[in-house]
Symmetry: C2
Subunit: 419 residues, 2 copies
């Protein structure tokens, strides 16, 4: 989408940009010293809320709690820790997730049922609960300070708190993923949207170790939020693949507290929807760029598919192919591997009709190789961002997926993550 | 299976071990000098034949020809080249595959419809057909020499020819995959089975760049051979995964020429079936061991599944997980990744019931981590062969899959394969 087409603009403030939201991050020493590892996001009033979760059969303990607490479509705070996934540790894990919610609830004076919990990190190891709860206490105190400052009109530090929250949810991430937009409404007034995300390794269509938290001061019912979030996630986070593994812990949450006091007209709501989708795409692309050990970013565009699902399957299959990823790393114009990955995607198409492009260079037409300039191909593949396009010539549907190359660095990072 | 249980024994001779079969390999200079790259397998009499092919939607040109020529369940020769996949090159590819069959047919004096064709190598580049056909001519001449020597009782070189055929089908393989067995029958007489395979990179359940050729002098109808081969492939080649990519070129063929002149009783036929399965498993394990850049061999055993298909899905999912593979490389007892890969396999099970073992060391029980000796785990993971077992405690079915670790070497090899 061109900038000119956008009804909104980028602003500072991350998840604390929307009115009535505050966020902080603190260092609790869960896995490392001097690393922000506990984040707290808080709305001054109870908010409508929506959530999308991993499809992995093995789910981390906080997911069950969050799903339960979101059952009524209402929430007021999100507490997140990195450094430990709180997954596969049995009864202890359920109790730990509950303790995290209760501790935040007590300090923030909200019902425990309105606190959502997320964790990311190593699986199968009991979290150091004392440190986590201490972190939540510190974060709560700091957050209440932010609230007071906000009430006094001294909220110039709000963006700092939100930024520290963005830092606190990171694990092997090398860059902060944080955005905020402002949307002027047709009947006057402005609504805001903030978002942070984490993810680098183990990223896959069905949301491998990916966390995303969005806040808005728009006024929408939970059911509507849920639909908007679901659609946005399907076109963004679920189209990112780094290594094909789907995590036990992934979730994306969206809280809307209505504090902007703006009634959304039809057009505004359409813009709001687009804005949410755009922010999810931006966060998702950042995750692909930040793939563990990645040196290149890959965008795969599939057009001319019979169904949207076919286009998605093919785009994700290409992005997830170890051979395509290794060829990208080696800057090798191996379009045969691209077509091969399309072929095992489980989608319907006629291989004899497919065109393949690297950037704007046609490398295969109607399913077979064409003469192309190896020099031009090399130039395209040497760039940090590489676009691969397929036209299936079988229909009108399309989809885009994002990924990265497979590097020596990936092997090094993942050969020694746990220990 | 213990040696004592086996009704057959290993012998020399590869695919030329069964009576009436001959094989040769020659150097045609298709991609490299001094590399065997054209193989010919020939039966003196028309044989019953069965074939199993890749499930990739994008299929190489020789696959269509071979499927067509096998339609009647009869074949007499197989011609194979490495160095070029003859895939995705349009009309030229179909003509090239046909020319390969016709050339072999002319020199060997058999109908072209009784010649099967297989290719492996780079995709999307027209093969140097002159060189390939020259190679087939040379191979045919050499093979006829072998036949004559065989008739004269001077067939001591047969094993050499078969070995060169095994060499000729290799690409990035680092070791020859060649076996022969001899089965004494209950009513007297002996039947033989020979087999060769290639495969290292791009290996996946649905037979990524994997070729297998089996010969036997047993007497079985094509339909029965087809059933036996299908079942054997499902439990062997389709349970190997190196990098999750499924190739355009894969096939496994089985020819039975009946030359042993033995009538198979019920017990013999059961033994024959077991023998075919065992050879396929042995070849498949060799492929996993030879995974591109692999430093370790992984066997994943899943027991206690509700259905066979569930057990297979989970075993393959674990073997194919980049994160499990990288952890294996790093000798990191990261059982959380094992459970995670089981969780996204698309199979049904209760995560709270699962036990995970590394070798004989229990690392997780009832879905959660247990205290285990890191020292013992390290010792198990430092071995060249590592067994991972899961007990789902949900049923009676089981399956085994084979794979390898993900190494720096894999990235290097696949970053520069085409050029």
């Amino acid at each position: 989408m061109d900038d000119a087409e956008k009804a909104w603009k980028s602003i500072e403030g991350g998840v604390a940009a929307p009115k009535g939201f505050h966020a902080v991050g603190v260092q609790a020493g869960i896995k490392y010293k001097d690393k922000y590892d506990v984040a707290l996001i808080f709305s001054q009033v109870q908010a409508q809320a929506a959530g999308v979760y991993t499809r992995n059969l093995v789910k981390a303990h906080p997911l069950y709690l969050t799903q339960r607490h979101l059952h009524d479509g209402l929430a007021q705070a999100i507490v997140i820790n990195s450094g430990n996934a709180n997954a596969c540790v049995g009864e202890f894990g359920d109790q730990a997730a509950l303790a995290m919610a209760q501790t935040a609830a007590m300090f923030l004076a909200v019902p425990p049922e309105d606190v959502l919990v997320a964790s990311t990190g190593v699986i199968g190891v009991e979290m150091p609960l004392d440190r986590v709860l201490n972190g939540i206490r510190t974060a709560s105190a700091e957050l209440l300070g932010e609230v007071v400052k906000g009430i006094r009109g001294q909220d110039e530090t709000a963006a700092d708190g939100a930024h520290r929250a963005a830092l606190a949810i990171m694990t092997t991430d090398t860059m902060v993923k944080e955005y905020a937009y402002e949307l002027p409404c047709s009947q006057g007034g402005v609504i805001h949207l903030g978002g942070i995300a984490k993810g680098s390794g183990m990223i896959h269509p069905n949301m491998g170790t990916m966390l995303g938290f969005l806040t808005t001061d728009a006024n929408l019912p939970a059911a509507e939020l849920q639909r908007i979030l679901r659609e946005a996630v399907d076109e963004s986070f679920n189209m990112v693949t780094v290594d094909g593994d789907t995590s036990t812990n992934d979730m994306v949450l969206l809280l809307a507290n209505g504090t902007a006091g703006v009634a959304l007209s039809g057009e505004d709501e359409a813009n709001f929807e687009k804005m949410v989708k755009m922010m999810c795409v931006q966060l998702a692309q950042d995750i692909a760029r930040d793939g563990e050990g990645a040196s290149k970013f890959m965008e795969v565009l599939v057009v001319g598919a019979q169904t949207k699902e076919d286009a998605r399957k093919i785009a994700r299959s290409i992005c997830g192919s170890s051979l395509v990823k290794a060829a990208l790393f080696g800057e090798d114009a191996n379009w045969g591997r691209i077509l091969t990955a399309a072929g095992y995607a489980g989608a319907e198409f006629d291989p004899a009709k497919v065109d393949v492009l690297l950037g704007d260079l046609i490398v295969a037409q109607e399913g077979k190789g064409v003469m192309f300039s190896e020099e031009k191909a090399k130039e395209i593949l040497q760039a940090k961002d590489v676009q691969i396009s397929l036209n299936l010539h079988s229909g009108e549907e399309q989809a885009t997926a994002w990924g990265c190359d497979l590097t020596h660095e990936y092997v090094t990072i993942n050969g020694s993550y746990r220990t």
